[in-house]
């Protein structure tokens, strides 16, 4: 029996905040990451973190709540949103107290900027490196606390046992040590998943890191957790056209325009992301190219507030936004859906918690507001860490799972033995193209069903795929194959959820049903492993 120890999977913002808070609550914590800490998706967040501080004009917590609820299109849990927005000022104050180098106003307050769908300048920022600077400061805090972080371990399964009443409880994780190829099992009274989203399903049409492959979500599902709102994937309006690299919403918040080939503006640039992405998509469907224009903001402002945007545009689009238009398109950016958790950040599997993008705390609903994702990882990371620590303290069950290590070993061997007649990398390209075309900004029943047929075909072809690299040490080919398998699993569930939601709501826009059907669908979709969808308030 092991008491009081917690495994956190994922070393992005949510994972590190959870680890810090679990540690502060007296738990023994180990953080496991498939990369190194500081290399997660969080470092790519640019725009800011929302909190109604009124540092740059009048604002209120109530406005933050109302903006968030409105953007969620009736699908957010109002209590959860209230909790998030009320906790926001304290969250930012805490980040400030541990040394996050926020940009400042002339009167020495934390600087704030306006993002889409916000009624005030609410996003606290550090130039356009907000996520990077928050993440690195959190990492330094973990070092100060002496929290053990194990890098380059890839999550295979959340391990579970059944208690006397045959209810599942978590008892650890199995991971593949990327360096030496060994399966490692970590026993724990509680596990917190902070593993990020699944937008890499869209492959080249995503702003995300190549690591956003939904590993934690897929493993939670296999361990008995429920997934919800999987059909809601946010498209970010402005990614660089040729590389899908993110250009922050703060460029529009500062006054940037969206223009078509004729040089005309065609939408309110500061509407919520679902609306702006659709407007861009419509222009492109008409044959227009779409550009972001920030030339009028001037070199001094751009270098001071948006240095990364200028660098990225130069590097990846070969244009200088101080003098030229930035060619853009909208691509997959954020998973609103994910592992269903309750108001304690707990899944239905006892002892299994989730926070950050992998979790669905029901605060984003059908469309997330910019600046709320960095906020959620601080607020709910803390909640998950504290509650997991409390649970672990009272843990008194058995941690026996001798079979599970050998079953993970068997799985790896089976994957290596596959014939590799079909190149799964080509199939990942195909998956991305299908999703971008059929499951993107504009969906309809026919296109979704076609996509599902294609995905089922890919799943049937899995036994003919495999890896060319059979080596044990540092086999990234093998890990990428397992990631692909996880993405395929989640693709199917995303599609089924999207087909079942026979209406339009937020990021889920059905051209064949272009209206909200509140009677039937003002509810969260829940999907189980067999692909059965139900709806709950």
């Amino acid at each position: 029996m092991m008491k009081n120890n917690i495994i956190v999977v994922g070393a992005g913002g949510a994972g590190l905040v959870a680890a810090l808070n679990a540690h502060a609550s007296g738990a023994q914590v180990i953080v496991i990451t498939k990369e190194y800490p500081t290399r997660s998706q969080t470092c790519m967040a640019q725009g800011g973190i929302n909190a109604a501080l009124s540092n740059a004009g009048e604002d209120s917590v109530e406005s933050h709540i109302q903006n968030t609820l409105k953007s969620a299109h009736g699908l957010a849990d109002e209590d959860a949103v209230r909790f998030l927005c009320e906790a926001a000022p304290e969250a930012v104050e805490w980040l400030d107290s541990i040394g996050v180098p926020f940009s400042r106003t002339k009167d020495s307050k934390i600087a704030q900027r306006t993002l889409g769908g916000a009624s005030a300048a609410r996003a606290c920022y550090a130039q356009d490196y907000t996520g990077l600077k928050i993440l690195h400061t959190l990492y330094d805090r973990c070092l100060a606390a002496g929290i053990e972080i194990l890098s380059e371990r890839y999550l295979l399964e959340c391990l579970t046992n059944k208690d006397k009443n045959s209810a599942s409880y978590v008892c650890g994780v199995s991971v593949l040590n990327k360096r030496n190829g060994e399966i490692e099992v970590y026993k724990a009274a509680s596990v917190i998943l902070a593993t990020g989203g699944y937008s890499r399903i869209f492959h080249k049409h995503s702003t995300n890191s190549v690591s956003s492959t939904g590993d934690g979500i897929a493993s939670a599902l296999r361990a008995g957790a429920r997934l919800s709102d999987m059909e809601f994937v946010q498209f970010h309006p402005t990614a660089l056209r040729s590389s899908s690299i993110l250009i922050s919403e703060s460029a529009r918040g500062a006054g940037g325009f969206l223009l078509n080939s004729k040089g005309e503006r065609f939408t309110n640039e500061l509407a919520p992301r679902d609306e702006v992405a659709r407007a861009i998509d419509e222009e492109i469907a008409k044959g227009e190219d779409v550009f972001l224009d920030i030339r009028h903001l001037g070199a001094e402002f751009i270098d001071g507030e948006l240095p990364q945007e200028r660098k990225l545009a130069k590097l990846y689009e070969n244009i200088d936004p101080v003098h030229e238009l930035i060619p853009i398109k909208s691509v997959a950016h954020y998973s609103m859906g994910g592992i269903e958790v309750d108001k304690n950040s707990s899944t239905i599997v006892e002892g299994l918690y989730a926070a950050g993008e992998c979790a669905n705390h029901k605060v984003h609903g059908a469309n997330r507001l910019g600046g709320n994702s960095l906020l959620e990882l601080v607020v709910f990371g803390k909640q998950a860490g504290e509650n997991a620590a409390k649970y672990a303290k009272g843990f008194n069950k058995e941690l026996e799972f001798s079979e599970q290590k050998s079953s993970s070993e068997k799985l790896i061997q089976e994957l290596k033995n596959l014939p590799n007649e079909i190149n799964f990398y080509e199939k990942h390209d195909l998956l991305g193209e299908i999703f971008y075309k059929n499951v993107g900004i504009r969906r309809d029943a026919l296109a979704l069903k076609d996509a599902l047929t294609e995905i089922k075909k890919l799943i049937e072809e899995l036994p003919f795929m495999g890896v060319g690299d059979k080596s044990k040490e540092c086999n990234t080919n093998l890990i990428e194959f397992i990631e692909f398998k996880n993405m395929l699993e989640l693709s199917e569930l995303t599609l089924i959820s999207a087909i079942c939601r026979d209406e339009s709501r937020g990021a889920h826009f059905r051209a064949d049903k272009p209206y909200e059907d509140n009677e039937k669908f003002r509810a969260h979709s829940i999907i189980n492993r067999d692909g059965v969808v139900s709806y709950e308030d």
């Binding site: 290399r39 040394g99 490196y129 100060a144 990225l312 990398y425 540092c474």
Partner: protein, 235 residues
């Protein structure tokens, strides 16, 4: 385009790509020619630090370097090569712990001005890619040297008004720290974020002197209270 990649031996690959980043070229090789080629990547946008490696002897991020015909691609130096272009970063990362790169305690009611914020704006852009440890000739011969990114990180916290025990931070970096650097500036030249650890080390030396520390190397040159040409102050 032909690309040479240092694996167990140097292997030449030919790909039909032009004007692409090295990361795109490596991905093309891995997904279509040789799935065993091993490298790390993440954000593709030069902010996560995963794909640092060397091209023709110089440290770059694969995602921000445009590959050219005949390039020789090698792993970072001064770290254990795990496989092909993947090195073990644990040792370099461990210097952050040894150099105590964090704020000593949580701060309350400390107000920072725009000028305060600018003091360590660039330093806090660091992505821990490790290019500077690969390029550092001191680290190459002294594996205990705290090294460029961790010293830059120390400066980040020491220079911040929220740090209440800067003296302890300065105490920590005297051995295998600021005085071991030769100020050769190699770290600055390879930093993808335009950070100069050399300049940060000079500033830490000045702080060290103010705290009563002296350059231990002066003694051996028969010096004492004279300024070296390394920028440290004389008094």
């Amino acid at each position: 385009m032909k690309i040479n990649i240092k694996r167990d031996v140097v292997v030449e690959y030919e790909v039909d790509l032009h004007n692409k980043t090295l990361l795109e070229v490596l991905n093309e090789i891995k997904t279509t020619i040789d799935s065993s080629l091993t490298f790390s990547s993440g954000c593709r946008s030069s902010v996560c630090g995963s794909c640092s490696m060397r091209v023709n002897g110089k440290e770059v991020l694969a995602c921000s370097y445009h590959a050219k015909d005949g390039d020789l691609v090698e792993p970072l130096k001064n770290s254990e090569v795990i496989r092909d272009l993947v090195v073990n970063m644990d040792r370099a990362y461990s210097f952050n712990v040894r150099a105590k790169t964090w704020q000593s305690s949580t701060a309350t009611n400390v107000s920072l001005t725009q000028e305060d914020e600018k003091i360590n704006e660039i330093q806090s852009d660091c992505i821990l890619c490790g290019s500077c440890y690969s390029a550092c000739p001191v680290y190459a011969v002294n594996g205990e040297f705290l090294g460029p990114f961790s010293l830059t990180r120390v400066w980040r916290y020491v220079s911040d008004k929220r740090e209440t025990d800067a003296k302890e931070k300065i105490d920590t970096i005297q051995t295998n720290g600021v005085w071991d650097c030769t100020l050769c500036n190699e770290c600055t030249l390879v930093c993808p974020q335009d950070i100069s650890s050399k300049a940060d080390i000079e500033k830490l030396r000045a702080r060290s002197s103010m705290a009563g520390y002296m350059d231990p190397n002066f003694g051996s040159f028969g010096g004492g209270f004279f300024s070296g040409d390394d920028g440290s102050p004389s008094f």
